[in-house]
């Protein structure tokens, strides 16, 4: 499947075999057709090939299927065979394409001269320089060479270790700035095992998250969002229609909090006290599972001092709230507590909560045979920095890690790095660390390289190169292996010639472990097709270690008057996403800010401090000061300033450099919060947001109903038109009428659909200035609104909905087009003919949903970003209106396939990009003429929940039917 790929010449493929009319871009189509000399049997020009591989953007390890056209990958989608992602892929995963095609990627090896300038060199010269330095260092003594990287799969990490020992060293440090290693430490204390558990949120009835933002970034967001949607789906429990009850405890209302029943705003560091207090309620009320084997007296003494009243005084959280959380947790059949804070106490308390209610092995399970943590202990990193400072390190190789940006100033990594005479940086887009390095080596993007992954027991992901390299880069594994051989490593110590061999060998070993009887080639070929080997993992039998109860957490105290809570940005994460224009341009779902970083301040706090919205404020901690724009918002607790990570790069390519501020610069090592002082500067710096209004102004853009009403079978009152009023003869749809059903209750706002739309439909990225002028080009967006205060009891915490063209039956856009560019297709789509459009923008003005986009600028994709463009979709020029097409190219391609195969279309065969990407399967697409289609059945099965946006106001008859958000009515449960 992929062996042949390596022999292909990328350029030949790119221009191959007369891809007639399929070459996109703004230039006229190529005038030459260059056929293959020898054709590739597995490839038909004009027909995509699919390669399974593994996502490496975060540690979750979701499976990916890469769609490849004419030898270049144009889209990433989730791998349905992978048990973690199950076919979905988040925005970050999809945007890794823009890491591959990033125009600022290092194209060649560079060396830094004495004058500090970079000089382009060949790989031969670079390799010689590296090996020369390495052998001098190795001769000088032991541990003179060091390797600092983020974990990049078991095989590559192992090779790095072998390579180091060939150079007489053992200093390999694997570091992640935002690793959830406290969870592993807490598991060590509680259960004597250093792995993180897996969760089954769908098995629970109640959920409390203590700072674990599992919808945005915590652990495995795709998987947990999917489980959470199942948890919130109305189902019969004990003869009653219910949904799971959930609460989020943390300083900021993020997407996870917004989708819960309760958001308990606390100062950072107070989560543990709340967790202990919830435990107190359970112990006092006797809601301890009799089978859990806990001694009540021990528990009582453990929670002593955490009665809700006392905790309420310290934290400011009302005692009733804590009691309510305790009731909810203790009385549920199946409950789960999650912890995502930086302190161990919260994690321990959450494990205890799960254990005492008998949920270990049910909603929380440790798996037998978990792979060891790929991360090094903190002491290793401290040791490395100390060794650097003592000038013991002569060569430091940094791969895939950006310590200069992502380490606290207190770690003094910058100073330590200056003591290292030769720093080798291996990576993609040169970042802050590359700016200090002496030798810069361009390495393959994971989509160009062999990789494996072991995210959890039973899951062995396999990553294969899906295309030829874009730049003059090399596989990091191959660079390391070559260098190890130069050190005299023989076939015994390093038995593999290439990274491909090493990965293959790993899978042969796995085959032996699994006792698979197939030929090794067949086993590996099957793993390549499936994207890995997926086996069931059994839950391990774990015993709680009562010694934990000896270390009672200290009461938190009131905490600082003003606290800074730093959180990973849903798209930029710890900063690694900042070089990808999609991730910069897609609005952060809660605050709806693009291309910037910001500091959220509660209106009360802002008033007390005299801070105005959009004012530049200086945040000063004991580590340093950052200046950032203030966002006055009620999505943060008063007395807390919340700030996302990810921006503030001084390097890292054109899309990242010089935007916002870096929150790592004000944090202590390992911390995500600090006491902070705020200075208002009086300067204004406007944050850019495509959101016009915080509330819906009385209109029902997003509708919700309570589970109580749903159980009683009462639909909320909504304005209904007497019947569709027709002015003209109605349209007839003899074949199909495409429609969509969107379950708002399942939508988490994660914006994977938005990223998928950008990738599939060649949407232009417009930049911050364009966005400020309201010219963002997204065909699909996540809208969010806050319910008015007086309705808060009868509303979800936040209304979140995907908004895209509603493909109206009575479309306001169509009759106003003077040139018939906006028109109604035979299959019920509001089509837009780019070649006919003259740009009057009447349609946009007349659209009540504001989902049409006008090209104010000629869209640009700096090379090689243009290689990502989908050849099946026209690249629109300036002056043209564009909009959601229900992915017409996908519809047409399936229709052609059905027609040529002389068969009928199957239900759910056509999947638009947004529906494909959705982790919670909130979007389904199908034929409204077919009453049995999954999409129509979803409407019928949830008749009480259906609504159409603005239909009552405008009689537009949208083809999209939404299903109402479900919430628990407060005070009526």
């Amino acid at each position: 499947m992929s062996e042949g790929l390596s022999r292909r010449s990328f350029l030949k493929i790119a221009s191959a075999a007369g891809a007639a009319a399929a070459i996109p871009g703004c230039e006229p189509a190529g005038r030459q057709i260059i056929p293959y000399v020898v054709p590739d049997e597995n490839m038909i020009p004009g027909v995509p090939s699919f390669y399974a591989t593994t996502c490496t953007e975060c540690g979750a390890g979701c499976g990916v299927v890469a769609r490849v056209r004419e030898g270049r990958v144009i889209k990433l989608e989730g791998n349905p065979k992978d048990p973690i992602g199950q076919g979905a892929l988040c925005a970050r995963g999809q945007a890794s394409l823009q890491g591959l095609y990033n125009p600022d990627r290092l194209a060649h090896p560079f060396v830094r001269g004495d004058d500090g300038r970079l000089r382009r060199i060949s790989w031969d010269v670079a390799t010689r320089a590296l090996i020369g330095r390495l052998s001098t260092a190795a001769k000088a003594g032991k541990d003179r060479v060091a390797y600092l990287a983020r974990p990049q799969g078991p095989t590559l990490d192992k090779i790095a270790g072998l390579w180091l020992s060939a150079w007489n060293s053992s200093k390999a440090v694997f570091h992640e700035p935002l690793a959830n290693s406290v969870a592993r430490q807490a598991a060590q204390d509680c259960f004597g095992r250093g792995d993180a558990p897996v969760y089954h949120l769908d098995q629970a009835e109640a959920l409390i998250s203590f700072g674990a933002d599992f919808i945005e970034t915590w652990e495995s967001p795709i998987e947990l969002a999917r489980q959470y949607a199942a948890f919130r789906t109305p189902k019969e429990r004990r003869g009653k229609l219910t949904i799971g009850r959930a609460a989020y405890v943390g300083p900021r209302m993020n997407l996870t909090a917004a989708k819960c029943d309760d958001w308990v705003g606390v100062k950072p560091g107070h989560e543990a006290a709340i967790a202990m207090s919830v435990l107190y309620v359970l112990v006092r009320q006797g809601w301890i599972s009799p089978n859990s084997g806990f001694d009540i007296a021990t528990l009582k003494s453990f929670v002593d001092g955490y009665d809700p009243d006392a905790v309420s005084q310290q934290t400011g959280v009302p005692a009733e709230t804590i009691v309510r959380l305790g009731q909810m947790f203790g009385q549920a059949e199946g409950a789960v507590a999650l912890a995502g804070t930086e302190d161990k106490e919260t994690h321990v308390a959450a494990y205890v909560l799960n254990a005492v209610t008998g949920n270990l092995g049910k909603t929380v399970a440790f798996l037998a045979g978990s792979p060891p943590s790929p991360l090094s202990p903190q002491a290793d990193l401290d040791g490395l920095i100390a060794a650097m400072n003592q000038k013991q390190i002569e060569v430091l190789v940094i791969a895939g890690s950006n310590p200069i940006y992502a380490m606290s100033p207190a770690a003094k990594f910058n100073d330590a790095l200056r003591q290292v005479p030769f720093v080798v940086w291996c990576g993609l887009v040169p970042d802050e660390t590359a700016d200090k390095a002496h030798l810069l080596l361009p390495i393959h993007h994971p989509l160009e390289a062999w990789r494996d992954s072991a995210p959890r027991a039973g899951v062995s992901g396999l990553g294969q190169p899906v295309m030829q390299p874009v730049f003059e880069s090399r596989d990091l594994g191959d660079v390391i292996l070559d260098s190890a051989r130069a050190a005299g490593a023989d076939s015994k110590t390093v038995p593999w010639q290439t990274m491909a061999d090493a990965v293959n060998a790993g899978f042969q070993q796995l085959q032996k472990q699994l006792g698979d009887k197939n030929k090794p080639e067949d086993f590996f070929a099957q793993a390549l097709r499936d994207g890995g080997v997926f086996a069931d993992a059994k839950a391990a039998d774990v015993k709680f270690n009562p010694a934990v109860f000896q270390n009672k957490p200290k009461p938190p105290g009131a905490g600082p008057d003003l606290a800074l809570a730093v959180y990973p940005h849903i798209f930029l994460y710890d900063g690694r996403g900042a070089d990808k224009p999609w991730l910069q341009e897609i609005p952060e779902p809660v605050d709806q800010i693009v291309w910037d970083s910001w500091a959220e301040i509660h209106p009360d706090t802002a008033k007390a401090l005299g801070i105005a919205a959009n004012e530049m404020i200086e945040l000063q901690t004991d580590q340093g000061t950052v200046a950032v724009s203030a966002l006055v918002s009620e999505h943060v607790r008063s007395g807390v300033i919340a700030m996302p990570l990810g921006q503030g790069h001084t390097s890292y390519g054109r899309y990242a450099k010089g935007r916002g501020a870096n929150a790592f610069a004000v944090l202590a090592p390992g911390a995500r919060s600090a006491a902070v002082k705020v200075h208002a500067t009086g300067r204004k710096s406007a944050l850019v947001s495509p959101l016009y209004s915080e509330d819906m102004m009385g209109r029902n853009i997003v509708e919700a109903m309570s589970i109580e009403d749903l159980a009683r079978g009462v639909a909320p009152e909504s304005e209904t038109v007497p019947g569709p009023y027709e002015m003209y003869a109605p349209f007839k749809y003899p074949t199909h009428k495409w429609g969509m059903t969107i379950d708002v209750n399942a939508c988490t706002g994660c914006s994977a659909c938005v990223a998928a739309c950008y990738a599939e439909n060649n949407l232009a990225v417009i930049g911050k200035e364009g966005c400020a002028d309201g010219r963002i080009m997204s065909w699909m967006r996540i809208e969010r609104f806050t319910p008015p205060k007086e309705q808060a009891d009868k509303a979800p915490l936040m209304y979140i909905t995907p908004m895209l063209c509603q493909q109206c039956e009575h479309a306001p856009c169509e009759p106003v087009c003077p040139v018939f560019a906006a028109y109604h297709t035979e299959e019920g789509i509001n089509g837009q003919n780019y070649n006919r459009c003259v740009g009057t923008r009447y349609c946009e003005n007349n659209c009540p949903y504001k989902v049409r986009r006008f090209n104010w600028y000629k869209p640009e994709w700096p090379a090689p970003l243009h290689l990502q463009l989908n050849p099946d979709v026209t690249v629109r020029g300036a002056g043209v209106m564009e909009k959601c097409t229900f992915c017409i190219q996908r519809i047409v391609s399936v229709e052609i396939d059905a027609k040529t195969g002389d068969r009928k279309l199957r239900d759910s065969e056509i999947v638009p990009a947004c529906a494909q990407a959705c982790p919670t399967r909130a979007i389904s697409f199908g034929d409204m003429n077919d009453q049995q289609s999954e999409m129509m059945r979803r409407r019928k099965d949830n008749q009480l929940r259906t609504y159409r946006v603005f239909n009552a106001e405008f009689n537009t008859l949208p083809a999209i039917t939404y299903l109402r958000e479900i919430y628990h009515e407060k005070g009526r449960a």
């Binding site: 007369g18 007639a20 189509a29 056929p35 004009g46 089509g831 003919n833 070649n835 006919r836 027609k899």
Partner: protein, 170 residues
Amino acid sequence: MNRILIPVALATFVGGLMVLAFSQRPWAPRQDVQQPIPFSHRIHAGVNKIPCQYCHEYARRSQTSGVPPVQRCVGCHGDALFGGLKPVTRPWTDHSQPPFEIRWNRVYTLPDFVRFTHQPHIWAGVACQECHGPVEEMDRIEPVHEINMGFCLDCHQKRGATQDCFVCHH
């Protein structure tokens, strides 16, 4: 006054017409395309009756019909010693030269806003000649029809095929 204005206006008008008449839209089929080797469709498709899709093999499966790989040429025009056919030109019988890539010049081009695909047309039984003309009688390929929207729609109307704009323009 008019004595100056009228000739100027007339000259501008005629000039404009001439620009229109002689200019080529980038997608207009070109009569003057020369190929790098004197390949003859008449000999192959006409005299020797090789089916179109023997060489343009992707037409029934893909958007593009595909230009044959050089390997396909060598299939017949291989080594003369082993019964290879002798072509008019020498490239593949010249033993000093391995098969090379040929840079054909494109005759038919469509604008970027048209998503044409060969596959359904082949399956609907449209003969290649209906759009490309009697290729089997041409030594050098010259377009017979200008492939514009009117041309497409004429046929779509006659055959009762879709006339929905969106199917091709998206």
